[in-house]
Structures are given as C-alpha cells and as structure tokens.
C-alpha cells in the first residue's frame, strides 16, 4: 500500500488536476488508510495522512484528510475533515499541550504496568513478613542495628518507610494510585482502539490471503452457502457477499477486558470512599444494658459525616449461646431492641454471627462475647453479682473466673471459693484449698456445699461483643465486585474469525482466533466435516 501512494508517482497515476500534491508535499510520506466507496460513476478515495513537510515539523501531528474524486469533471476537494492548525503561540504553550499526550503515552506503557504490579505484589509480601501495627520497641528488638537482618535491614528501614503500617503507608498507596492511573491510560489509549479495530470487518478477496491465516483448509466440492449455514448453526454471525464469506463469534471477549479495567477502577474508588468516609466502633455490652450508637462509632477519615440514625439507643435484651452435644459453642445470639430519640422501639431483632442487623444505614455485627457477672445465692441470701474476670482469651477459647471470699475479709491471706467458666453453660467450683468441688449449671438451681457454705448458681450473665459500622463505599464496591466477576468470565470467550472464498467448486477456508488457539483447529475440523460434499457435477451455483 505504501508504494502505491508514493507521492511523486501518484501525481502521474491519478488525474493531474489534483492540486493536493503541491511542491510542499514532495518530501512527504503518507500513511494512508483507504476506504473504497463504490459510488456509481465517481470513484472517491478518502485518504487520512500525516504529512511531514520539508520545512520542519510544523505540521507534525496534523491529520489531513481530503476527498479525491476521480471523475470526468474537475475534482472537488472537500475540506470538511481538515483539523484546524494548532496555534503556535509560544513554544511553552505547545509543550503544555503536548504534555498530556506524552504522559498518557508513558503511563500506558505495558512493561511499566507490569513493573508496577510486581512492585505492589512485592510490597504486599513484605507486609505479611513484617509484623504490622506493633509498638516501635518491637521493631527495635526484632530488627536491631547491631545485628541487621540480611546484613542491612534494621528498624530504621521499617519506621522511616512506614513498613509497620504497610497497607496504609504512603509508599504502598502511592503505588496503587500509579497503578490506577496506568489502568486509565491503558484503557483509553490501547484497549478502545483495539476494540474498534476488531469490530471492523472486511471480506478477504484473494485466496492467498485466506491461505495465510493461522488455520486454513480447502474443501474441494462444496458451496460457501452450506458453510455459512453450518457456521450459523455453530453460533457464528455469518456475512455472505458474492463468493466470499466472513463469520465471527465471541466478539464480547474483546470488549470484556475494558470492563475488567473499569470494574477495578470502580472497586478502587469505592475502597477509597470506604477508607475516608466510614465510621467504625466496637462495644461489649452486658446483658440488660444500653448504649447509644453515636457514642460508640468513631470516624475513619475526613469524609465521615454522622447521620440522624446515630441517636438510636440500643438495648441488649438477652445474650445466649447455642452448644453442640460435645459442649463446643455452635452459635452466639443477641436479642436487641433499638429505640429512637423519643423512646419508641423502632426495631427488634436477634443477631447471630453471620446474620447482622441493618438499620438506618449502619450495621451491627455479632463478633465476640464475654462473661459479665455470675449471680449467686450464698446461704440463701442474695442474689449477689460477682463480676467475672477474663483469665485467658484465646480466640474462641476463653476462660473466666471469679472469687467469693470466705471468712475474714480484712486479712491479707484471704481464702475463698473460686469459680471458673469456659462458657455460659457450666461453672466449675473450687474450695478454699483450691481443690475441685463440683460443677453446676446455672439453670439447674442445684445447691452445692463448699466448706460449710451453701452456694446456688442463679444465673450466668454474659455480655455481647458487637461491632458497628457505617460504610458509604460498600454499594460501590459491591457493584465493582459484580462487574469484575462478570467481565472476567466474559473475557474468557475467544474471538474467532473465519473467511471463506468460493473458487469454482472449491471453497477455501481460513480462520484465526485470539485466545482458544489450542482448541481452534479441532473445532474448525469438526465444523468443516459437517459441510456437505456436492457429488453431482451438474449443479450450477449462482454466487450472490
């Protein structure tokens, strides 16, 4: 194509009345893209070209497209598509204009993006290797200056680079921002033009061009129409024009990567909103007590604004746990009532671990539990509430204990009855010497005699560990998640294109695909086997 439009020759090949090819363009090079439109008597070419004149690069970047009409009459030159000349008002202004384009070109560079992804992955790995969120003394101890890890890594590296809070450190967030800008640049400059190119379809007119495709085959006695029918049955979109055929399938697989990038940008935007605009808080409330939502929630960033619902008062009616037969905890439940400013109950619900409460934009989650107090009767007096202290908290395995002093309460070596509990089901009692005395369940109301004192366990009062949260970014992030899942699935589709040409009684078929390269030949062979062979030689096919 290049040689055809060599300007010095063109002036002679075409109608010499074309005044386009003036002397100033003699040293030009053309990169034409032609669309040939058949228009009854006139042949018109539209040439888009970038002209570099011998006077330097003044017109660099200018797209000039002129319509050249070859006809009997004098040709017209329509100037509709000429872009206006850029204003050359000062070199600096020209630089500023060029800057976005150059920045865009740099950002959409693929190796840069790959490097950024590697860096992000490496930083995340480092973030899991170094313990996060500890006090500085921890790092002084773990990465001492006298004996550096790997010979150079000391606590100075950790604290100055912010590696102790890696996932909110400037270095990590900066990399993420850079990655986001690369995503946007790449989508704009590379992906969208690729889609436009893929959508443009054309027939291949020569058998040689078809044979050059990745997969090509010849059917000796066949009709291109039969091939078209077979392809349509296999889900292809078929276009037939005269002896040539074009079919494609799976074009959505070309669009989907753009969707993937946009979904990721949506997730990043939602995540940013979550980080800067949400409220969080946790509270451990003993059964029977209240708290106000606004007192518990604290803002996370500068965009956090409280809402009217923050005035709601939450009352814990009851906290209870379900157990398996083996005695392990199976589920926690909290019965909550929500009251508004006037004291009217607006909501009542029982929460459990995977079942949160949603009201007024905020959500309450059941995340933890604790033992608040043990209610006992001592020698039929009481009931007394003994506060339970946590002795060991190891995730779901906890141990609580309390102490009932017996005898002289003022002496230093005070003795008493100890009561330990792992959960709200059963209490283990020990006497003054620390010997095991017995186990009692709070519901049974069975008395136990220890060292002359009669104890009845009336009730075990637990407290519910609740987490509250209000997060405006969640709908955006969820939308991004859904879009990402969908577009990733769709981008698995392979865009297959097939061309065919009827040459006498032979059909020449060629095709290519962008993803499923391993399976494509087999699929094509299977489809071509389905095309019927024309046995009689007296059949005459009228193409078109």
């Amino acid at each position: 194509m290049e040689t055809l439009f060599n300007p010095s020759k063109t002036a002679k090949l075409f109608v010499p009345n074309i005044s386009l090819f003036k002397s100033s363009f003699l040293h030009s090079t053309f990169n034409p893209q032609t669309h040939i439109l058949f228009n009854r008597k006139t042949l018109s070419f539209t040439i888009n070209c970038r002209a570099k004149t011998s006077q330097g690069r003044k017109t660099d970047g200018k797209n000039i497209s002129k319509k050249i009409l070859l006809s009997d009459s004098a040709p017209e030159l329509s100037n509709e598509d000429v872009e206006p000349k850029p204003k050359n008002g000062g070199g600096a202004w020209g630089l500023v204009r060029k800057l976005p384009k150059r920045v865009l070109a740099v950002l959409s560079n693929l190796p840069l993006a790959i490097g950024e992804m590697f860096t992000v992955a490496g930083l995340m790995a480092l973030g899991t290797a170094i313990d996060q969120g500890e006090a500085p003394e921890f790092y002084f101890q773990k990465y001492p200056e006298e004996n550096p890890v790997w010979g150079f890594f000391t606590w100075r590296w950790v604290l100055t680079l912010g590696l102790d809070h890696m996932f909110s450190s400037p270095i990590f967030l900066g990399m993420l921002v850079l990655l986001a800008t690369s995503l946007m640049a790449c989508t704009y400059t590379t992906q969208i033009p690729l889609v436009k190119a893929a959508r443009r379809w054309r027939f291949l007119q020569s058998a040689d061009a078809i044979r050059k495709q990745e997969f090509s085959d010849t059917l000796p006695r066949a009709s291109v129409k039969d091939l078209g029918v077979v392809l349509m049955a296999a889900g292809y979109e078929v276009f037939l024009k005269g002896p040539s055929l074009y079919a494609f399938k799976g074009l959505a697989g070309r669009f989907a990567p753009i969707g993937v990038h946009l979904a990721m940008l949506l997730i990043m935007a939602g995540g940013t909103l979550s980080a800067t605009g949400s409220f969080r808080g946790s509270v451990t409330v003993p059964q029977g007590l209240n708290f106000v939502v606004g007192d518990v929630l604290g803002p996370t960033g500068f965009l956090s604004t409280p809402t009217e619902a923050f005035n709601t008062e939450v009352h814990v009616n009851r906290f209870y746990m379900d157990y398996y037969d083996s005695g392990e905890v199976s589920q926690f439940h909290t019965d909550l009532s929500l009251f508004d400013l006037n004291g009217k109950e607006v909501m009542r619900k029982t929460l459990s671990v995977n079942d949160p409460l949603r009201y007024g934009g905020f959500t309450i989650y059941q995340t933890d539990w604790s033992f608040s107090a043990l209610q006992i009767l001592k020698d039929d007096e009481g009931p007394f509430n003994l506060a339970m202290a946590p002795l060991k908290l190891n995730g779901d395995k906890k141990l609580f204990g309390t102490f009932l002093p017996v005898g002289d309460t003022n002496s230093p070596n005070i003795k008493g009855i100890s009561m330990l509990a792992r959960d709200l089901q059963s209490i283990v009692l020990y006497d003054q010497q620390g010997k095991f005395a017995g186990v009692r369940r709070p519901n049974s109301k069975l008395p136990i005699e220890i060292d002359g004192t009669k104890i009845v366990i009336v009730d075990a009062i637990g407290s519910s560990g609740l987490d509250l949260k209000i997060d405006p970014g969640v709908p955006i992030v969820y939308a991004g998640f859904g879009a990402l899942m969908l577009t990733t699935c769709v981008s698995y589709l392979s865009h297959a294109q097939i061309w065919a040409l009827q040459d006498g009684t032979t059909v020449i078929v060629g095709g290519k695909t962008n993803r499923a390269k391993a399976e494509f030949p087999d699929e094509m062979n299977r489809l071509l086997d389905l095309v019927p062979e024309i046995v009689q030689s007296s059949i005459s096919e009228q193409p078109g």
Partner: protein
C-alpha cells in the same frame, strides 16, 4: 459408623487406583507401550474421580456441613479438582498432555492428605460459628478449584521451560568437553543454535520441529487453563470479601491469607498481560507462571503454617503420630 467405614474404603480405593495408573504411565514412558493397558489407565482415572466424589459426598452427609472446613477436607477437594480437570480435558480431546500433570498431582495431594501427618484431622469436625454460612460453599470451593486449575497451568509452563532449556543445560555440559575434541559441523551448528535458543526460528532438524510443536501446544494449553483458574480465583476472592463484610463488617482486612491470595491474583494477572505482547509470549510468560506455582503453595500452605489471622481454621501443626 457405616459412613466412616465407607469413607475409609473409598479413600483406599482411590489411592490405590491412582497408584496403578501412575505406574502404567511410567511403564509406558520408560519401557515400551503395552497395548491394551493405555485405555485402562483412563478408566482408572474415571474410577478415581467417582471414588473421590463418593468420598466427599459421604463426608457431607455424615458431618452435615459442606466438606470444606479444614485443611484435610480442602486437600481432598483439591485432589477432586485435579481429577475433575483431567475428566474434562479427556472428554474434550482424547490423549493430551494434561493427563501427565493431573494424575500425579491428584495422587500426591490425596497421598499427603491421607498420610500420617494429618491423622488428627480425619474425623469430621464441627463448624465454628463463623463458618456456618452459605458463603462457605461458594468461597472455598471456588478458591480450591482455582488453585487446582492454576497449579495445572503453572506445571505445564514449568514443563515448557524444562523442554526449552534442556538444550542449554546439555550444551553447558558439552562445552566442558569441546576443548578436547575436534569441532565437527554438527557441534558448530549447536553453538549457533545456543545463541538463538530464545527465538523459535530454527528448524534445522525434525527433532527441533517436534519440540517446537510440543512447546507451542504446552504454551496454548497452559494459557487456557490459567485463564480458567484466574476466573475461579477472582470469583473466590470476591465472594470471600463479600462474606467477610457480612460476617465481620469489613470486606478487606489485609489478613495474611487474603493478602497472599491477592498476590497470587496479581502474579497471574501479570502472566495474562505478558501474553498480550507477541514478543514476550512463550518463555517469559512461562517464567512468571512458574513463580506463580511457588506463590500458590505459599498462599495455600505457608500461611496456614503460621496459624494466625482470620483464616486460622486451616492451620495445623506438624506432629508425627
């Protein structure tokens, strides 16, 4: 009681069948092809598939929850994933390279799971409250299937690298002898080829042509399988995030396991992006996929060894009983 014995029987059947299949494959490779046995190896894999499926279903019925709550169950699920991939690729195209990867993988994971290292966990355990959710099925099954597919794909890439660079390893060995020998035309050709080893532009002998064909096939299959695994991994990570939001109020906590899953996702995204450029396709993407192989094992096993964070359900301590 009957269920646990049934479970035992199924485990042992699947283990032994897969061992026999592997033995047949090795015999075919090293000795001579024994006609008639080749078909039986495929049948053996079908039997294994049904055995492992039966094993999982039995465990599901017996314990009342979906069989994916601790490390032992997820390993069984992983070996099921491998045999599933084997089945699907067998039905799409008979006699392909994938079976050399999936069958040994299935047996190794099955073997590790049933070995003495994890006997403490063979009994079906009860679910902690945080795991009692419908999301368990979707999140963990998608993650484990994703791991299975990505492991297969990365092993294919490793195979590709081994085949491509076997020549270089041989030549480095040869160089030590070259000084003592007289140069022959063939050896000079070899030295020329060494500089071109990264460009598949030489077809000097039919052996090279077949090697090129093989590497190209491996490359394409690896790409397809990794794309599929990537989809599963994406769905798994995102469903995990949604579940975390429903259970604990925040969809991303930079938990070690979550972070390493994200690192795995990033590395395979790099793999997919490298393949968009025709020049880097082939060896470079295979190198990235091989890194991905190591990273998946760190994500799946290495983090569990630490035993910390929100994903502590999968942790275990290596004690020998």
């Amino acid at each position: 009681m009957i269920f646990s014995t049934l479970e035992h029987i199924l485990t042992h059947i699947s283990f032994s069948v897969v061992s026999i299949v592997i033995t047949i494959h090795f015999l075919t490779l090293l000795v001579d092809e024994v006609v008639g046995l080749d078909d039986s190896s495929e049948k053996g894999m079908i039997v294994t598939f049904f055995c492992i499926t039966g094993l999982l279903v039995t465990r599901w019925i017996y314990s009342g929850h979906f069989p994916l709550s601790d490390l032992y169950e997820s390993l069984i699920f992983l070996s099921w994933g491998f045999s599933l991939i084997h089945m699907i690729s067998y039905f799409k195209k008979r006699k392909n390279d994938l079976s050399a990867i999936t069958a040994p993988s299935a047996i190794f994971t099955q073997g590790f799971a049933t070995s003495g290292l994890l006997t403490k966990m063979h009994q079906s355990a009860i679910l902690a409250p945080a795991l009692q959710s419908q999301w368990l099925m979707m999140h963990v099954s998608m993650m484990v299937l994703g791991y299975a597919a990505l492991l297969c794909g990365s092993l294919l890439s490793v195979a590709l690298l081994v085949i491509t660079f076997r020549k270089v390893i041989k030549i480095i060995g040869k160089n030590n002898n070259l000084l003592n020998q007289s140069f022959s035309f063939g050896e000079i050709q070899y030295m020329n080829e060494r500089s071109n080893v990264l460009l598949n532009t030489y077809f000097l002998s039919s052996k090279n042509y077949y090697r090129y064909q093989l590497t190209q096939q491996l490359d394409r299959w690896s790409y397809r399988i990794i794309s599929l695994g990537f989809i599963f991994l994406t769905i798994g990570i995102l469903s995990g995030a949604v579940w975390a939001n429903e259970a604990w109020g925040s969809y991303w906590n930079w938990d070690p396991k979550e972070t390493w899953a994200f690192i795995t996702w990033t590395v395979f995204a790099i793999y997919l992006h490298i393949r968009t450029n025709k020049n880097f396709e082939g060896v470079n993407s295979a190198i990235v996929a091989s890194m991905g192989f190591l990273i998946i094992w760190i994500c799946y096993f290495g983090v569990n060894l630490l035993g910390i964070g929100l994903h502590s359900y999968g942790s275990f301590t290596l004690t020998s009983n």
